[in-house]
Subunit: 356 residues, 2 copies
DNA sequence: ACGCTCGTGGCAACCGGTTCCCGGGCCGGA
DNA sequence: TCCGGCCCGGGAACCGGTTGCCACGAGCGT
């Protein structure tokens, strides 16, 4: 009664089982499977036959620990359900497998604690890179925490990538890939103002979220540039969900807020806002104009098709893994800023009746 | 010059490094970290201090191979970008982490070859369960292939779960969780027919895809039940994307097809169809009624809000992992069939002018 | 015919952990 | 005082692979 499972059925096969069945040593099996080492044809076929008979697959963890094995890469996001995140995840996946890496994706559901747990877990997995995506509260504590993570990842030969999230202090070993929220929002809002709108309602996300902040800054900057004062009562905050947009518009209408256009911080928010507007008997863009942000595929199917700003999410994901994985050890820390552009559809028109 | 990295900075820490720094043996470190074994307070604090100083994290792969370690579960889908898949992924993730498992999600981009690769890879990872999701071509070859996979997974102590995909031959060690495509489509189409529609255009997916087939069957069954003959020229096929719906409607209109309602096999498809209809100057539901399938969150934001059938995708995902993981070794193979229900919104009305 | 490569394959160390088994020190009870 | 336990920690085997090193046999040149 040895520890070898020599039976023909059931149980997990080890390389030694295969070796025994083929009448060779474990090393030989490993070499046959590895493919680099010269092995006589007869031995090779015997081994391959045993592998097939036993339906053997080498344990990936064991390979990994022994130095062979597929490298891994981790992608940590808030919620896979958000279309923009999903597209990034898609880009990450594609590029990772193209580069021969396995990619793990983890949803934190917006929980900062879980995010830390995941990062730690990925460090334990010896991931070649950890990509963090989505805005956060940019507090001092946050920066410090991220810096610590960046350091410990770096010292373990891994790499922290921040994607769509603000950079840390210079000198921190981190790769940052952002897209320009502020300019996008600026251009979008400028478009609205150029049409003659003067009271545009801003539907924000969590005030502490950097993505939400960037978009709000763009909104404000556009107002400043055009010399129109932005009424602070026209800025409402919720989150990035459809329901948030719906709720905020109902609230605005109930409060009797006066506005001729709505700038939602997300297409999802815009989508909810649109139905709330419709439910209130308002038509878009005749009664009120509406714009979103992200250019998710659905944006063009709303009625009217939504004017929004296009963000190359899939490229973002691809780029994140590429720069992280193909980076030379001592290269300077990269900080890429991807451009966005507004795509004009039919949801914006000049205000029907110019106020003031 | 030993192999131990005793420096204070850089490099991957091993348990032996920690042991050396704390002046104990590796076993002791392992025990402190494990928490079960009695260790004196002084030793424990020394070890913990060394762990902190060195920023040590145990290698998850090594733990796994040694029998400790977090179990893993794999989720293989076609495209994370599809909203319904994303929701399932979400459910899977949540439930998996709730049950203390790490979940890997892999997108195959609809490539059957990559799907096999992933399954093999997950087998190599010794995943506790492999969840396959989404329709497929239900060929003899497919069933055989899946049966083989189910067997080899089972013999390795793992489990194959088919989610939203047809069952295999009885006796195959597999868990199947389906939602009822045919009844849902039946109810939906019956709703259309009950309103007086007699010529409803069906926008299908790939004809070989089982999900697409199920929905088509429901469409046909509803016709039969009502005694209305379904004109075969009113069945167009593409895939489950928005663009497919858009294209198919343009094509139908160009061909001069005669129909008063459209039944899209997916909300995404319906979404594209809707804009194509609008672009052609047709209004919904006055000129033509439209229904979808899936009840993705956006469905209610289309204009008009889309009548569709609700599928509990997130529950589906949750259920898949729960039944797979909490199953007792010799339990009979489960086959769950989840119900769906149609949600009536404003995209359906009686045909404006009754034909024939 | 002898010695040298070269082709081939086994042994054993190693990857980074966990855990069984055992032994030393200290305590209390007889 | 002596002995039995208990508490605690170390050594070593093991998990399932990979790979450096070495030995053995055959073919070949001289």
């Amino acid at each position: 009664m040895t520890r070898k499972t020599t039976g023909d059925v059931g149980g997990r096969r080890t390389i030694r089982d295969v070796a025994a069945r083929a009448g060779v040593s474990a090393s030989t099996v490993s070499r046959v499977l590895g493919g680099e080492y010269p092995v006589s044809t007869s031995t090779r076929t015997r081994v391959m036959r045993a592998v097939r008979d036993l339906d053997y697959v080498a344990d990936a963890r064991a390979k990994a620990i022994a130095g062979a094995g597929t490298p891994t890469l981790a992608f940590v996001l808030d919620d896979i359900t958000g279309p923009s995140f999903a597209h990034m995840a898609h880009g990450v996946e594609r590029e990772a497998t193209r580069l021969g890496h396995l990619s793990l994706v983890c949803s934190t559901d917006g929980d900062a604690e879980r995010q830390l747990e995941f990062i730690e877990m990925m460090r334990a997995q010896r991931a070649a890179a950890v990509i963090l995506v989505g805005g956060t509260a940019d507090t001092a504590e946050y920066r410090e925490r991220m810096a610590r993570i960046a350091d410990s990842l770096a010292s373990a030969g891994s790499r922290l990538v921040l994607c769509g999230r603000p950079p840390l202090d210079p000198g921190t070993p981190v790769t940052v890939i952002e897209y320009d929220n502020e300019s996008g929002a600026y251009a979008l809002c400028a478009h609205l103002l150029a049409q003659g709108h003067r009271r545009v309602l801003f539907l924000g996300g969590k005030p502490s979220n950097t993505t939400a902040q960037g978009r709000e800054q763009g909104y404000l900057a556009a107002h400043r540039a055009r010399g129109v004062t932005a009424d602070p009562t026209l800025r409402l905050f919720g989150d990035f969900t459809r329901d948030s947009g719906h709720r905020l518009i109902r609230q605005a209408l109930a409060q009797g807020l006066d506005f001729t256009a709505v700038m939602a911080s997300t297409d999802m928010v815009a989508s909810g806002a649109l139905t709330a507007l419709h439910e209130a008997g308002l038509s878009v863009p005749e009664d009120v104009s509406l714009v979103g942000y992200d250019d998710i595929p659905f944006a063009r199917d709303l009625n009217p098709p939504l004017t929004t700003v296009h963000v190359p999410y899939e490229d973002l994901g691809r780029l994140a893994v590429r720069t992280a994985l193909t980076r030379t050890p001592d290269a300077p820390d990269e900080h890429l800023l991807l451009g966005t552009h507004v795509v004009v559809r039919a949801s914006v028109a000049p205000p029907s009746e110019t106020r003031e």
